[in-house]
Symmetry: C2
Subunit: 224 residues, 2 copies
C-alpha cells in the first residue's frame, strides 16, 4: 500500500547508494533519519535543494540525524551530478563528496512502495518522477513526520531542521512545541497534567494564559 | 485506503462544520483549499496554531485560498473554543468569529479516511487523536501538497503560505521555485527547455550557472 502514516514502521529496504549497498535500518543505526526524494538529477530545483541540504548537513549531524537522498536516477548520474551540487555550493568538487548518500531507485520500486511519485511530472517515456518527499524516521524506526511537495516547489530545509528540533525536544518528554516554535522558546505543558504535577515537573515555572473558557490549558514553561 | 498521494482527487465529503453542513467541493468552489487537522480543542499547541492560522487568514484570502480546520471534537466545543483562540490573538471574542470553519469529525470518519490519525496520541478511551495534517487542494480538487506532523510539533503556517505561493507561481507555467524560494525571488527554467525557447519565453532574461558537468540546466529567470 503506498503512503506511510505517522507511527508506521519504516520498511528496512535494501538499496544501491553512492556509498554502496545498504539496508536502511543498519545504515541508520541508533540515529534519527531524514530520507528525502527528488525528481531527477541534473535538474535545477533539485540542485538547489541538495545544495542546501549539504550546507545544513553538519546541523543534522549535530542532532544525531543521518540524511539520505533518493531519486530514480542511476548511480553513475548521482556521482557526476554530485560534483555540480558541490560547485553550486562553491565547494571544490574535485576533492570533496556530498555529506550524505543518494539512493539509486532506478526501477522505481521504493518510489512506488513509499508513495513518492508525482503524477504531474513524467520522464520522456511517460513514467512519473519522484516528488519532493521527506520522511523523518525516529531511532525506533517509525515514521515521525512527513512532507510531500510537488516537483515544482523546492522545499525549505530550515523548516525540516526546525521540525527535527521539535521532535527531539518532545520525544519521551511531557511537553510539546507551539506554532512557529524555535529552539530556546518556551514549550507547552500538556492540557491533561494537573497543576501540582506541572509545578513539580517544571521548576523553571509554568505560565498560564487566562482565556474566556476559564480553562487553564494554555501553559508555557521554559525549555529545559 | 488511508493516505492521499499527490495528484489524487480529493474526496468531496460532506461534513458538519461551525458554518453548517457543507460538501467540500461546493465549499471550495473555484478556490484553492487548505484543509488542516488538529488533535483536540482546548489544548495548548492547537490554540497557538489556529491563532496563527487566523492571523494569516487575510493572506490566504488574498491568494484565493479557502481554509478549513478539522478535529474530532463536537461543534459545541469548536464554537466555545474559538473564543479562546480569538482571545489568544488579543481579539475581542465577544463580537468576532474565526475567519474559517472547523469540521466536527466526532465519529473520526474523515480522520480515518484521510489518514490523519496520530497513533501516539490517545484520548481517555484509548482512541487515537488527529495529527497535524495539512492538505493543499488545487482548484481542480486534486491534492497538490501535504504535510503530516505529530501532535507534539506545532506547524509553521508561514511555510504553508510560502508553499502556496510557489504552487500558484508555477501552476500552468513552465517554471519552478528553488529551495527556500520566496515571492519575488527568481524562478527556475525547466532543464528540458531549449535555450532559444527559454530566451523567447522569458524576455526578462535567463541566467545560467556554469557547472562541472558542462550541462546548462541551472537557469534562473526573474519572476514575471
Amino acid at each position: 500500500m503506498p503512503g506511510l502514516l505517522l507511527g508506521d514502521a519504516f520498511p528496512n529496504f535494501e538499496a544501491e547508494t553512492t556509498i554502496g549497498q545498504i539496508k536502511l535500518h543498519e545504515f541508520l543505526g541508533d540515529s534519527w533519519g531524514v530520507l528525502f526524494s527528488h525528481p531527477r538529477d541534473y535538474t535545477p530545483v533539485c540542485t538547489t535543494e541538495l545544495g542546501r541540504a549539504a550546507r545544513l548537513s553538519t546541523e543534522f549531524s549535530k542532532r544525531n540525524v543521518k540524511m539520505i537522498a533518493l531519486s530514480i536516477d542511476c548511480l553513475e548520474d548521482h556521482h557526476s551530478w554530485s560534483k555540480d551540487i558541490l560547485a553550486y555550493n562553491c565547494e571544490d568538487s574535485a576533492c570533496r563528496s556530498l555529506p550524505f548518500p543518494i539512493i539509486a531507485d532506478s526501477k522505481r520500486e521504493l518510489a512506488v512502495a513509499l508513495g513518492m511519485l508525482d503524477p504531474d511530472e513524467k520522464d520522456k517515456d511517460g513514467l512519473p518522477l519522484t516528488a519532493r518527499c521527506v520522511f523523518v524516521i525516529g531511532p525506533d524506526k517509525r515514521l515521525k513526520l512527513s512532507i510531500l511537495y510537488p516537483a515544482t516547489t523546492g522545499r525549505n530545509f530550515d523548516e525540516i531542521l526546525r521540525a527535527v528540533d521539535s521532535l527531539q525536544a518532545t520525544a519521551g518528554k511531557r511537553v510539546s512545541t507551539p506554532a512557529d516554535w524555535k529552539p530556546g522558546d518556551c514549550v507547552m505543558v500538556p492540557a491533561s497534567m494537573p497543576e501540582e504535577e506541572a509545578a513539580a515537573l517544571f521548576p523553571a515555572g509554568v505560565y498560564t494564559k487566562d482565556l474566556p473558557s476559564g480553562k487553564k490549558y494554555l501553559r508555557y514553561t521554559p525549555q529545559q
